[in-house]
Symmetry: C2
Subunit: 276 residues, 2 copies
């Protein structure tokens, strides 16, 4: 049997009882560690589970499915993922490969940022399409996510922006080499995401367009949601570009034009001036 | 301390390890049982936790916050909710009431239908605004949710439709009486939701409008997501009106006009003809 188990968002104890029982009985347990990260490390998980884990990096998950699934017809193999198993296309794809091989599978759900983001008080029913904000490079500065945010605002909806993470990313130069060289891991902070949004707004203004949102738009910055060190700040987009919420992972919400009274009452506790 | 703990979606073992430890140590533990239900009953939960639970029905949660929070300044009190604690406005409001009283609180996240719905293979990033489909009565047949679905389709997005549940709902006649009389619990099935959508389409056609979606739209029906008896069926909206997925809870997805190849590859396994 192949199990794909969500770990939730914070520490080792965020696994479900069902998930923990499976982890303890499996022959091999892999830890997916490149689409997201927990606030604790592999060692802490191993100590809590009382068993060793095999780190499944990008290469192993995307190219080595055969290795991970080997013997899962008879043995029990688990893949642990941060958040919920269906949070990344990679995982859905992985289940498809298990199915192709005729291997039975079971999914153990858990919290992911897509529902835990409700912790800031904004109602999940008032969110539109979720967007991803990628790291810009000198050569590549995509901004299609911006139009989705503006579209959500037009529809009076909030937007959850997932911020890019780069873990075990090969350097551009080493892509064609036999031995890949990896960049140090990096995680986009809410200030960087806000800066990119402000740059797009400026660019569109220069081009004579109405950007649809402004530096005055209310935003919510979230860090390490679900963990003990969780931090939430609400302020204008402009001020968000100066906010430091500490270590990863960060997420940013561009708040829609309509804020329900219960949302407002909850949100004000995170106002910038009170935090800093 | 006041704890609000998500139970996930399926059986008692879907609680997190963190949540279970808190449940075991609390002085009083309430089970919220009217905005959603698990596939198991209170007795099964009590047996698994090894402790009694107090059922918190609508009246107790919405009117009796003082009772639930009594003594939580010094004692440990927990409120258990199906899914994630921020899945319903009621719960956010409840946390606000704890804050007003100066009571410290902790949230324990878990899976909810809003992220677990990924189990059908449709990517969560391709969903627009979530809608709720209410039970119609002879006097009251609202259809504002329909416009939201059509808007999502225009934006090439899928729509998760949460289907109404009525638990401990007073009868209309008893609303003005001292002693309320309650209706038997009822849960909307995917077939009922599909029928309501088809009726709205017919009505708009009669009025000479373009309804925006048709009986041919692809839908996904889901029942008891996250439990062992989970069922998923995909078919046209018209066929969905004849589908029986068994006991509650049900959810319906109106699929957007663009289906990604990985989504399609996953979704076809649930095609109606294979299921029935």
């Amino acid at each position: 049997m192949f199990y794909i188990i969500g770990l939730g968002l914070g520490d080792p104890k965020d696994i479900t009882v069902k998930g923990l029982e499976i982890v303890k009985k499996c022959d091999r347990v892999y830890l997916e560690a490149y689409t997201s990260i927990l606030t604790c490390g592999k060692e802490e998980l191993e100590k809590f589970y009382g068993r060793p884990l095999i780190v499944a990096d990008r290469d192993l998950v995307e190219l080595g499915a055969d290795d991970i699934l080997a013997g899962a017809e008879e043995k029990d193999v688990a893949l642990l993922v941060v958040g919920d198993p269906f949070g990344a296309t990679t995982h859905t794809d992985f289940i498809l490969r298990a199915k192709e091989k005729g291997i039975k599978f079971q999914v153990v759900h858990n919290a992911s940022i897509l529902n835990a983001v409700g912790c800031c008080g904004l109602q999940l029913y008032s969110f539109g399409e979720t967007v991803s904000i990628p790291f810009w490079t000198d050569q590549w500065q995509p901004d299609s996510f911006f139009d989705k945010i503006v579209n959500n605002v037009k529809n009076r909806l909030h937007t959850l922006c997932l911020l890019d993470i780069k873990v075990k990313e090969p350097t551009l130069e080493s892509l064609t080499m036999k031995k890949k060289v990896y960049m140090p891991p990096k995680f986009m902070m809410v200030s960087e995401a806000a800066l990119q949004l402000l740059q797009i707004i400026d660019k569109r203004k220069e081009q004579g367009e109405d950007p649809g949102i402004s530096e005055k738009n209310v935003c919510v910055g979230l860090a390490r949601v679900g963990s003990e060190s969780q931090k939430i700040v609400t302020c204008s987009l402009k001020n968000m570009s100066t906010v430091d919420l500490g270590g990863p992972l960060h997420s940013l919400i561009v708040v829609g034009p309509i804020i329900h009274p219960v949302e407002m009452e909850y949100l004000v506790q995170f106002e910038m001036k009170k935090e800093q």
